[in-house]
Amino acid sequence: METKAFQKIYTKITQITKATCSLNADGVGYEELALVHGRLAQVVKIQGQSVTLQVFGGTEGIPSNAEVTFYGRPPTLKVSDDLAGRFFNSFGLPIDGGPEVEGDEREIGGPSVNPVRRKQPSELIATGIAGIDLNNTLVTGQKIPFFADPDQPFNQVMAMVALRAKCNKIILGGMGLTNDDYLYFKNVFDNAGVLDRIVSFVNTTEDPPVERLLVPDMALTAAEYFAVDRNEDVLVLLTDMTLYADALSIVSNRMDQIPSKDSMPGSLYSDLAKIYEKAVQFPEGGSITIIAVTTLSGGDITHAIPDNTGYITEGQLFLRRDTDIGKVIIDPFRSLSRLKQLVIGKKTREDHPQVMNTAVRLYADAANARTKLENGFDLTDYDERTLNFAREYSEKLLAIDVNIDIKAMLDTGWELFSTHFRPEEVGMREELVEKYWPKKE
């Protein structure tokens, strides 16, 4: 990012905190970029003469007479087809040794789509994972996070979903990725031979945390280029949004804002919504789908970050280790895809909604039976059967290593019902039972 000639250089900083510094300057625009002591910064507050800058690289070692110059514009990204196959840092600068990308320069964090111009999402994204396709079907234009504890394989599942989904571009926004995970993504995409349709913006744990704040906007600006200018289906992967929110709270804390729940800034909901709502089905055919990761602390979804996320996203995929089968499953109770109603039974077989609901209800019965068992009570015959059903359901459908098509998932569902239950015990629509209940010779 070259600076303009003849620009004014300021050398008198009046205040320095861990994440911000202030100085007196004239004619500065809100959200404008600046360079402080060679580090990028952005205007977050103007009060008369005094301008406060959020320094992305942190303020360590910045002297009070540091040189400060202003760019006269907010952060931008140059977009073109050359973005494909490249790895960038939070500022959109290459980190893969390649040349800078030339193209149209666009402001990041641009305006929202007019809701009346959006199209209703209607294209199913098949992943082969029954915990997703059967119970929590994904649709293009959707935004959905994985809720997972830090020890769960969320990045692996996300990479798997990304590779199986039929989309033109995958854009990875990595925030606070460990170097190992960064290399993992790079390898997986490389081995799958899809590197040419991946664009990555990566902030690793080695980089300053405040830089992360730029990653989602960079990734989504690139996504909007491919989805709007090129009418492509774009899948955006954002991991880990919890670390993004932590960076927000660092900045708001340094600006002396009053924290709300869990020390998060009061604007957390709006801040997250601005990112997630970039997911959209455009009328001309392009789409942006966002799959994110929100790590939890001990499975607690009432913490402000997952809580606000859940209210914004169109569902969540909840990973849990099922000790019965010793595998990670997609928890059918806590997971939800809000947009599944748009496709299940419409783009998929008619029995999809009822098979899905019935299986989950029976799984809930099994959970009750398990409670009884734990409390030392005798189980009824029905209880025993629900437990057997639950084990098989978990193994054959909920586990994340399942990879079958939706028809096979539905057939498996009916097979499990008929193995463990009688038709009147499942309470499904009569016509469906007549048509799909496996006939035993």
Partner: protein
Amino acid sequence: MKENKLTKGKVAGVIANLVMVDVDGPVSQNEICYIMLEDVKLMAEVIKVLEKRAYIQVFESTRGLRVGTDVEFTKGMLEVTLGPGILSRNYDGLQHDLNKMEGVFLQRGDYTSALDDDRMWSFTPVAKKGDPVAAGDWLGEVDENGQPHKIMVPFKFTGKYKVKSVIDKGEYTINETIAVLLDSEEKEVPVTMVQKWPVKVPIKAYKNKPRPFKLLETGVRTMDTLNPIVEGGTGFIPGPFGSGKTVLQHAISKQAEADIVVVAACGERANEVVEIFAEFPEIDDPRTGRKLMERTTIIANTSNMPVAAREASVYTAMTLAEYYRAMGLRVLLLADSTSRWAQALREMSNRMEELPGPDAFPMDLPAIISNFYSRAGYVYLNNGESGSITFIGTVSPAGGNLKEPVTESTKKAARCFYALSQQRADSKRYPAIDPIDSYSKYIEYPELQEYLKKNVGENWVENVLKIKNILIRGKEASEQINILGDDGVPIGYHVDFWKSEVIDFVILQQDAFDEVDRSSPIQRQKYMLEKVLNVYDTGFEFGSFEEVNPYFKRIINEFKQMNFSDYESDRFYKHEKELFNIIDEKKIA
């Protein structure tokens, strides 16, 4: 004010959408002003004044705003434009028509007009020369999508007037003078079909506001039967995410017996609004034979749209509702979600560095919420006709905890409480309204009880109370079974529990996505309630507790098939007959 000079100012500071302006003249609280950026004007509202400095909240992104930028004040508060053509439109929170905006992306400062200036409306006079009139009185009427849209004496007119003339029946645009009134000093005042009104001020052009007494049918059994809402009533739906708030609100908006529906999508997901945009123009309104969209207005201020306009959006929606109520119509107003509105207040309060109340919300939050809810209600107009605004808001409690400030404040203001339970949602018992925690204060109103006895059934109220008792008893039985074990309790406990499960599966649970089951008229609800009570009143004989569960599952299955069948169809009666057969198997003679 002595002179007509408008106040001007210059930007002195920016923190996100809070802007400080040094002004050269008087400004008032909530006054609207425009920031004159190079190429666009950004609308903003005064929220605090400190000597010569006004603090304004900008309804747009403030990116690129510089100190010294000019600001022009308007003297007016945020107003909506009222007139024919509001129905079936999609507005943003400030009543700009979203469909008129250019391009796929919202451009800041793109302010489109709320109504069409050149559309012709066929006008029929109602008032005659010499009639004494006052604000809100009807002068004439036009047909708006099949609704009698009254043209009224503007609400801003104070005092008494006399009609000098009303234009003849014919086709006119909204800006033509359709009547001339004489004020108390015999001065002529022209009236057109449009008027403006500030959104934060309630429209009070009615005679009185009695206690509401008429059932508002929603087709949702667990509401209509157990905890009914009334025409002109208020209710709220709190629930953690994923518990079905929005699905429930959409169901109510599609099915409720209202003339006009105003939906305020306040700080929620854009795709949910898109769902309304996509579905409502397709769905038939059974009462008018037209499309649902024709009686609906949507105020969309989704979560990614500017925060300050989110706060305005609920007021805009309420004012539009009040306008239609003054025409003697039954208006249903839905706001999803009022928590987002409260959060918008919190964000601003925070930026202004006010001392925070609980959870950093502003101290006056409870007052703001109860003032807003009090604008709903059933009213008698000056001409003796009646109109109503039924308001149902959703609340999104942080962490699903109902002890948070927005839920608690709303609980004090709303008369119906529909608590969505995570537990019910987890086990897919939808709608997840908790039958025991939820309540409707209206069912205690003698006025409503009278109405229900007359219009639904003599024993209706009694039966409903009975059902509630059975549910509580069932819950107690289930707790006992869990503590003592299946064989540690008498068989009767199992029977009590399963009888309450019958109610849960047959009455409470309802499939919002099933063609037939999604909406249940009150007569059908009555029929099913009586059948379910029939089962309850029957004594059954069981050999062991293990027989109880499978037996009642069969009963529930037949009932559910009835719910899935068209009312009074052959299939409906076939399953009913099957049901009787099952009951006879174990019945104590």
